[in-house]
Subunit: 424 residues, 2 copies
């Protein structure tokens, strides 16, 4: 039986071993889903993370204790524990460098571990977001050079862009659509069958390049559209009209796209446009729309704070800032624009209590979070993230934190059209 | 009974006379809809247009002969015929000047007619797209200055942005949502009641400014989104992958916005972003996203022709260009990007037969249209507009126009995934 026939048969019989490298917001749900059918090794270089996961504690709150317990995933930070796996799925982060270029070092690190184990007859699948061409021009070449082996002959490579949406309980790994691609047709077919075991809808891309590009397009489109409504909110402010009303009016047209102004942070939407820009520029085309919204979204917190402070006539105030994470219903603080708002207010010497019930940690760098806001204390409250937990608290409870005549600045229109609220 | 009570009662009893000024793609459907309830005067300075309409011929194909006959609209190019109307609705075009600034001359012309008749106790409603502030800072002031009368006392002003989509038989004047605004609350209420007689859903804007802005936002958003996918198609071309496949892959994500690359012409989407830009710049804010897609959309025909000709190795070819209008299922040739494609091909000395069954006229400027394409004649066929009539013809019939091995360049993916087609 050929290697491909063997692997197919193992997939059919649920007899494979899969290693997932990188157990963050992407990797852990991937590992968990595959563990329902296959033996899974969950690998991460972060020893703390592995220690928690071994106790079935996911501090990211993606997978519950009971589910983790049931999963039987073998967690490890020793790469040798992956030596028996037929499949490696890499889900390490792909940030940008300070000069906004792709930073692929975590992927290389993962590849080095796999090379040390030996890649002969192995399938290496990347889920991390990369620029089009990175797989073929960088990673496959690196694997070949480091191992002396040949792709599609000795080892096999696939790319399946992750679409994990942290905090989203509806669009989860197994019920979203997934794209797969492979270093050749037969490999693509294997990867398709593999994912089909745990994901409802799987689509084959004809090339790795298309699969890589498609992922960047999704998030770049979103970044640009939020930037556009953020810009509208800036223009409405200049016109001295409410952007929330104006956007609502526009949304009565049948084909209007209902985006709301807000903070765009995190490690996907704020990063992916730079990846596509990088690869396009390398090919001699400088994009015109791709990054048009990026700076705007980066500077939107400054605009918001300026607008907010304009209600206080240069007075130093006590602020309750509600929401610290980069988006709603998660506890991820990386690249959060609420933190920008905190910093700008502190620079301007206002007192800020920073409150986020979703965040379990007490500190983030030098920032200390408030466990419990005071009552009747604040001149102003900013709600910067539309956490469900705030919605459930309700406006009345939130208003009790404020002094009489406290101004509530509701950036995400969580309580739109309610009394006591300043909508943009 | 006060004037407002009188007008309300006349609206209730269908006893009003309304004049619609400007009978183009916007004005005629407006006049036709109101004629179902009220006496309507249809005014246009274009004597030819009036001559045709008097014979119940709408060369724009918006309203059928039978409907026009039934409507009882009194068509005229003599402004004195409007003297008994209580309501004036202005639907004249608002193009841009060669330097891309708002060109409001047709609105001023309409206002001058109304002023000559006398505006005492009249309601003047503008439907044309204008920049935010144009009504209050320009038109109302002009009306007051020219007449010596005062708004909200002697005459009344409203703004209700048009949302006519030429060629669209689903989103028609009476079944879409309409926004109304007025120079004061009472006026807004009158205009609301008036439109409510003929339009299903009517929304009140709190200010004329918001109503003006909301219209520009809709089309600017669309322009930017099409520019974005056009840019993606350019980048995919550089990457040597199919943009149609890549966008399809991206569209398997739950929140992807399914725009297709294509030509953006016409007198709304290609114009409105400049209006909003103009007003924003005047207020001291230079937009970053608003015009980011404009140049790209302007130059997209050049990219397409270059791509297209790359298949022919500098050979001079016979081309059949199918589709001349600025968008599908209409016969409007103004600012059509297909015409740009025609011109670029002609400049490069290729023979082009320009064919559009929707266009009844024989010529447009110096361009002569082909009534019937030849059989077995063309080296290449470009389908640039996704007319239903082309879809109905079917690919087989279209292929018969071409020589053996003729290349079909299907810009709008009308026949995607069919044999013999080059998809981008």
């Amino acid at each position: 039986m050929s290697l491909f026939e063997q692997i197919k048969s193992k997939i059919n019989k649920n007899k494979l071993e899969i290693s997932v490298i990188g157990l963050g917001y992407v990797g852990l749900p991937v590992a968990h889903s595959f563990s329902k059918k296959f033996k899974v090794i969950g690998f991460d270089i972060n020893i703390d993370r592995i220690r928690h996961l071994k106790k079935n504690n996911d501090l990211n709150q993606s997978i519950s204790k009971a589910e983790l317990k049931k999963s039987g995933i073998k967690f490890s930070s020793n790469f040798r524990d992956m030596k028996n796996s037929e499949i490696f799925i890499i889900t390490t982060p792909t940030p940008i460098t300070p000069s906004k270029n792709p930073d692929l070092k975590f992927i290389y690190k993962a590849l080095q571990f796999i090379i040390k184990i030996g890649i002969k007859n192995k399938f290496i699948i990347l889920e991390s977001t990369v620029y089009p061409g990175a797989s073929e021009n960088k990673f496959i070449k690196f694997l070949e050079k480091s191992s002396g082996l040949s792709v599609n002959k000795d080892f096999f490579y696939g790319y399946s862009p992750e679409r994990i949406n942290p905090g989203d309980k509806i669009h989860t790994f197994n019920n979203i659509s997934k794209i797969v691609s492979g270093s050749d047709k037969k490999t693509c077919e294997i990867i398709y069958r593999l994912y089909k075991k745990v994901v409802h809808k799987v689509y084959k891309a004809s090339t790795i390049l298309s699969a890589e590009a498609s992922k960047l397009i999704e998030n770049s489109q979103r970044d640009l559209n939020v930037a556009f409504v953020n810009e509208i909110s800036i223009i409405c402010n200049k016109l001295n009209i409410q952007s929330s009303e104006t956007l609502k009016l526009a949304s009565t047209k049948w084909n209007f796209l209902n985006f709301s102004p807000g903070l765009v942070g995190g490690h996907c939407i704020g990063v992916d446009p730079y990846y596509l820009f990088y690869s396009s520029k390398k090919l001699g085309y400088k994009p015109q729309t791709l990054l048009a919204g990026r700076n705007l979204n980066e500077n939107y917190p400054k605009f918001l704070v300026k607008k907010f402070l304009s209600f206080f006539n240069k007075r130093k105030i006590n602020v309750l800032l509600m929401g610290a994470t980069y988006k709603e219903n998660c506890n991820d603080l990386r690249n959060s624009k609420s933190i920008d708002i905190f910093r700008i207010l502190r620079q301007k010497k206002h007192q800020v209590h920073f409150f986020d019930p979703n965040v379990t940690q007490k500190k983030f760098g030098k920032i200390i979070f408030t466990k419990k806001p005071r009552k009747n204390y604040y001149d102003a409250i900013i709600i910067s993230v539309s956490h469900m937990v705030f919605k459930k608290m309700g406006l009345n409870k939130i208003l009790k934190y404020g002094k009489k005549n406290c101004k509530v600045f509701d950036i995400k229109n969580l309580f739109s059209n309610q009394k006591g609220i300043i909508n943009l």
